[in-house]
Amino acid sequence: MSTELKVKTMAECVAAGEVPEVLFWVGCAGSFDDRAKKITKAIARILQHCNVSFAILGQEETCTGDPAKRAGNEFLFQMMAMQNIQILQGYEVKKIVTGCPHCFNTIKNEYPGLGGQFEVLHHTQLINQLMSEGKITIEGGAFKGKKITFHDPCYLGRANGEYEAPRELIRKLDAELVEMKRSKANGLCCGAGGAQMFKEAEQGLKEINVERTEDALATGSEVVAAGCPFCNTMMTDGVKHFEKEQSVQVKDIAELIAEAADL
């Protein structure tokens, strides 16, 4: 963790007369959750290392409205969406990278109908592009030869058909990618989506994250890779449930890349 982070907000860029190419949409978890903030920093470090011209909205960013929409509060969703679109358009944002598949899905698929057309990438997609362009290289990184399994976030995988970008990144770590028995289109949800993150689960026999963590542990991997801050929380809790936190780590792909590239 050598490099110092220098992240500017859009407002700061405007004041300095700069026009960033990419807006990094951090998301609420990435902004406020202590664990997720580490993912945010890893993404920012990677962008900075690759000389991507980017900025954040900072205090002007608000929730995309995803949990409100999925809980049925279409009013609140559209209020948030229209305000966000206004701000994004105010800064003439064209391209957005998100640190969360829920933000990614909402801005990519649900904002256009409300007038917000942007090119939207999930961070694993952008990082994968950057690596393919040779902007980051990993040689004998920290994860070489290690077993890593990837948990598909529903809103990246099934919802948007992106299964490969995160997997290509894991392969670039020289790690051994081990698939869970349910993966890609058949992947099992971590239990957080559809606003479940913000409520107790309904009465049942088991927690969904425990069920999913069983899949992950069965692969014998040392690292459970995630691509979503909510999945990350759920899987981390699941690993704790099985008291495996000493031997199994849950990490975002961005963290793995940043660590392996020694950023």
Binding site: R70, N105, E110, N186
Partner: protein
């Protein structure tokens, strides 16, 4: 001549019932709200060809897929024979197409092989369904009628195929007795590869008895098929027909996309800018979200009529797998049951929609079920005919929230946080960029 008159009467009666039932189903589906469908017809056709015609999504479970393919192909192909039956029935002919010779022999032989395969597949399905070893076939929502419906149709198919093969077996035996008799329409023995094998049981029967059995099977077969078509519309087997329009009209956007309610857009625009110009609502004020079937879209309702009750959605559902009450299959079955109920009561009151004090929400689908959904799209991915239970779940949630302000307490807190702090937690907007500094 009497036989011909009886046949015409039979055909007319069956057509009448089939027409009435299909009108009923169509009227019910059109009780749904109109929807704007995105996407090009070419994409829709290719989805239909891949998913419905090509059974593309069945093959995630190869064994069931192959068995189902046999039923599907077998049933369609064998029913080419219905054309001959219709002509024979109307004009009093017997095997009218036999004159085309070699091709006819080939066709009938193919039908026989397929009939045997269909028979075997039906027996396998029957055993598999009732053995109790597959969870999705033993779940509560299948108890009673749905379970019987499935069995009944399998048994009917077995009977129909048996009748078909027996009919051919009679003709084969007749061949052996009266091969040179001009009154007998001769069909080459080669047309009966399957029925000839077991036609031995009929050996020694008189010519009359064979004619009688042959006629009985012929009538049984055609009555069976007509009854099947009428029955279809009451049953989950409607998917045989509706799978096609259902996949044609299925969602083309990325599965993660939820529609934006236009009525809400207009209100929010006015709220943010009171001088905004918004179009008036198309047909008077509508409810936000769905309380009953007529608040859903007609695509949702067609989905409900198309559902095969296979339970693939439910077996992939994370909520259901972990013991929650939610079952996406039940969402579809409830929607259909309620729609049928509404349809029947409309018929009883001269086509008028009358409040009956019941609704899809609560009388059929409970809040507990709705709140268990993670919106993960496993159900929509699993459905072999692109049904979307999630759409209905979200629309019912919308009604709960926007019309009744009813939500689990923690969800209300989340809403308030978003409204006040711009984040689902009670965090200050001022701290949003703090991560940069440490």
């Amino acid at each position: 001549m009497i036989a011909q008159i009886a046949f015409v009467l039979l055909l007319a009666t069956a057509s009448f019932f089939i027409f009435k039932r299909f009108q009923f189903v169509k009227r019910n589906i059109l009780l749904g709200r109109d929807v704007q469908l995105a996407g090009e017809p070419s994409q829709r056709w290719s989805t239909m060809i891949r998913v419905a015609l090509g059974q593309g999504k069945m093959f995630t479970r190869p064994f069931a897929a192959v068995m189902h393919l046999i039923l599907y192909a077998g049933f369609i192909i064998i029913n080419i024979e219905v054309l001959e039956i219709l002509i024979d029935g109307l004009f009093g002919t017997h095997r009218v197409f036999a004159g085309i010779g070699g091709l006819y022999t080939f066709l009938i032989a193919t039908f026989e092989v397929l009939a045997l395969l269909v028979l075997v597949a039906c027996v396998v399905f029957l055993v598999r369904r009732n053995a109790g070893s597959i969870k999705r076939f033993t779940m509560p929502e299948l108890k009673g009628w749905p379970q019987n419906d499935a069995n009944l149709i399998l048994i009917t198919e077995i009977l129909l195929m048996t009748a078909f093969l027996t009919m051919n077996a009679c003709d084969y035996q007749l061949n052996q007795i009266i091969i040179k008799d001009a009154s007998h329409t001769y069909v080459s023995d080669a047309a009966f590869p399957i029925s000839s094998i077991w036609s031995g049981v009929l050996e020694g029967s008189s010519q009359n008895a064979l004619h009688l059995i042959e006629r009985f099977c012929w009538w049984f077969h055609i009555i069976g098929i007509l009854a099947f078509i009428v029955y279809l519309s009451y049953s989950k087997h409607l998917h045989i027909i509706l799978a096609f329009p259902n996949t044609y009209y299925s969602k083309l956007q990325a599965p993660g996309t939820l529609n934006n309610l236009q009525s809400v857009t207009n209100e929010v625009k006015l709220m943010l800018d009171p001088s905004a110009q918004v179009p008036p609502p198309p047909d008077g004020p509508q409810r936000f979200g769905a309380k009953d079937v007529n608040d859903l879209s007609w695509v949702n309702l067609m989905n409900a009529y198309s559902c095969t009750e296979c339970g693939r959605c439910t077996s992939e559902c994370p909520a259901n797998q972990t013991g929650k009450l939610l079952s996406p299959r039940k969402i579809m079955m409830d929607t259909r049951d309620r729609l049928e109920e509404v349809g029947r009561s409309m018929d009883a009151s001269g086509g008028e929609w009358k409040e009956d004090g019941k609704s899809l929400l609560r009388d059929y689908i409970t809040e507990e079920e709705l709140w268990a959904c993670t919106s993960c799209n496993a159900c929509t991915e699993a459905c072999p005919i692109n049904i979307n239970p999630l759409d209905i779940i979200i629309d019912l949630r919308r009604y709960l929230i926007m019309e009744e302000s009813k939500s689990p307490e923690s969800i209300t807190v989340m809403f308030n946080n978003i409204e006040n702090n711009g984040a689902p937690w009670a965090m200050s907007a001022m701290d949003r960029d703090q991560w940069r500094n440490n």
